[in-house]
């Protein structure tokens, strides 16, 4: 072997050792690659995105909510084949790191929020509709709609996402009968709201920052 050949072989060997011996750096790279993957669909700032399906905003979302939903996809409590595949390969530490990252993001609402009867939406959000047995959303989601623990942030969420989730609640959430979960809380409320009331609430919270 020539001197130059030996040199480059040595350098390649050193490089291989350095690359394999950097668990800290590679974990950071792994997280970054996974974040880029998430944001490809959920928006480059986590603000949500309108594809063929509506991909929800993750920015500012409650970490416990994100973790619970990712588990829900895997456990078939929540029906979504694409997200079940996505969640399936995530380690618990990766999930925690992703959720923490999105918690810190705070881009403005996509497209400036929602359009529609935001006055009615605000009324429903803050007062509820006692005659229809709909409690005030703010009672659980907070006055600022930022959520808490497993209760999701709604502020800045894409209005068509909220609409489709509430309209389809009974067929998308709580789907694993052997594993009842907290999604049951929203069952009666989603059932008692009319579609136009849902549109109004969605338009209102979409504009909240």
């Amino acid at each position: 072997m020539s001197v130059i050949g030996a040199h480059s072989a040595l350098r390649a060997a050193i490089l291989a050792v350095v690359l394999s011996a950097g668990p800290g750096a590679s974990r950071a790279d792994e997280l970054q690659a996974k974040l880029t993957y998430c944001k490809t669909c959920h928006g480059l700032s986590g603000q949500g995105y309108h594809g063929y399906y509506t991909m929800p905003r993750l920015a500012g979302q409650q970490p416990d909510y994100i973790e619970n939903q990712l588990r829900a996809f895997i456990e078939h409590r929540r029906k979504n084949e694409i997200m079940a595949n996505v969640a399936h390969v995530l380690s618990p530490s990766m999930v925690a790191a992703l959720a923490h990252h999105f918690r810190e993001l705070n881009p403005p609402p996509l497209d400036g929020g929602g359009r529609g009867d935001t006055a009615l939406g605000r009324h429903i959000f803050e007062e509820g509709l006692p005659e229809s047995n709909v409690p005030a959303c703010s009672a659980c989601h907070g006055q600022d709609a930022k959520g808490q623990d497993q209760i999701p942030r709604l502020a800045g969420q894409l209005p068509d996402y909220i609409y489709s989730k509430l309209v389809n609640w009974a067929s998308e959430r709580g789907q694993n009968k052997s594993m009842p979960d907290s999604s049951a809380v929203m069952g009666p409320t989603s059932h008692n709201l009319t579609k136009s009331q849902i549109s109004a609430v969605a338009a209102y919270v979409a504009g909240l920052r």
Binding site: Y37, T40, Y49, G51, N85
Partner: protein
């Protein structure tokens, strides 16, 4: 239908026919140009992609991109920059809506053996490799929506070239996540996806 497609149909179908003065604000020479490369049925031909059934908002956005020299891959520069230079927004909209209304055919020119691999990537992505599921944006049959293009039935050669060009740093639509997507795809994944999509109806 308030926009008169029949005028466009006449213009697109009869190459070289005398141009009626009823064509009004359309630029007939420019519209006739489409058929020279994309075919009279707009089903595409060699390097020119199928436009039949393509999403109208996508066609409009790309025409704007050519005119602004934003879409900058070599064939766009060579052919579409000049072709789109004088297409006004009204003409672009009429043309795009007409093209979307045409029933698309299926190219079927990919490798059959790779189709099932391509289908799996298209529908599920490869989560371990951070490759997203294409259907999230392009729809389960690659039908596209709004500004997001139809991919189903496009030719293998066109799809393969476009996926490579995204990865090579060429631009097409501002704010598109496609540079990230294409950057995650290796040559084998691109072969499989382009093959699969060429068969999708």
């Amino acid at each position: 239908m308030k926009r008169n497609w029949s005028k466009l149909v006449v213009l697109l179908a009869f190459l070289g026919a005398p141009v009626s003065s009823r064509a009004g604000s359309f630029e007939p020479a420019t519209i006739r140009n489409c058929t020279w490369c994309h075919g009279t049925g707009a089903q595409g031909y060699t390097v020119a992609p199928r436009l039949a059934g393509q999403r109208a908002l996508y066609i409009e956005s790309q025409l704007r991109g050519y005119a602004a020299h934003f879409r900058d891959n070599p064939l766009s520069k060579q052919y579409m920059w000049s072709a789109a230079a004088n297409v006004g927004s009204g003409t672009a909209r009429d043309l795009a809506e007409y093209l979307e209304s045409l029933p698309p055919k299926t190219a079927g020119d990919g490798d059959h053996a790779l189709a099932s691999r391509g289908e799996a990537i298209f529908l599920q992505g490869i989560p371990e490799a951070n490759i997203v599921a294409c259907q999230a944006c392009h729809g389960p049959s690659g039908q596209g929506v709004r500004e997001i293009p139809r991919l189903g039935g496009m030719s293998y050669f066109y799809l393969k070239r476009r996926l490579r060009e995204w990865g090579q740093g060429y631009h097409s639509t501002p704010g598109s996540p496609m540079p990230i997507v294409a950057g995650s795809l290796g040559p084998a994944e691109i072969e499989a996806l382009a093959s699969y999509l060429s068969f999708v109806r």
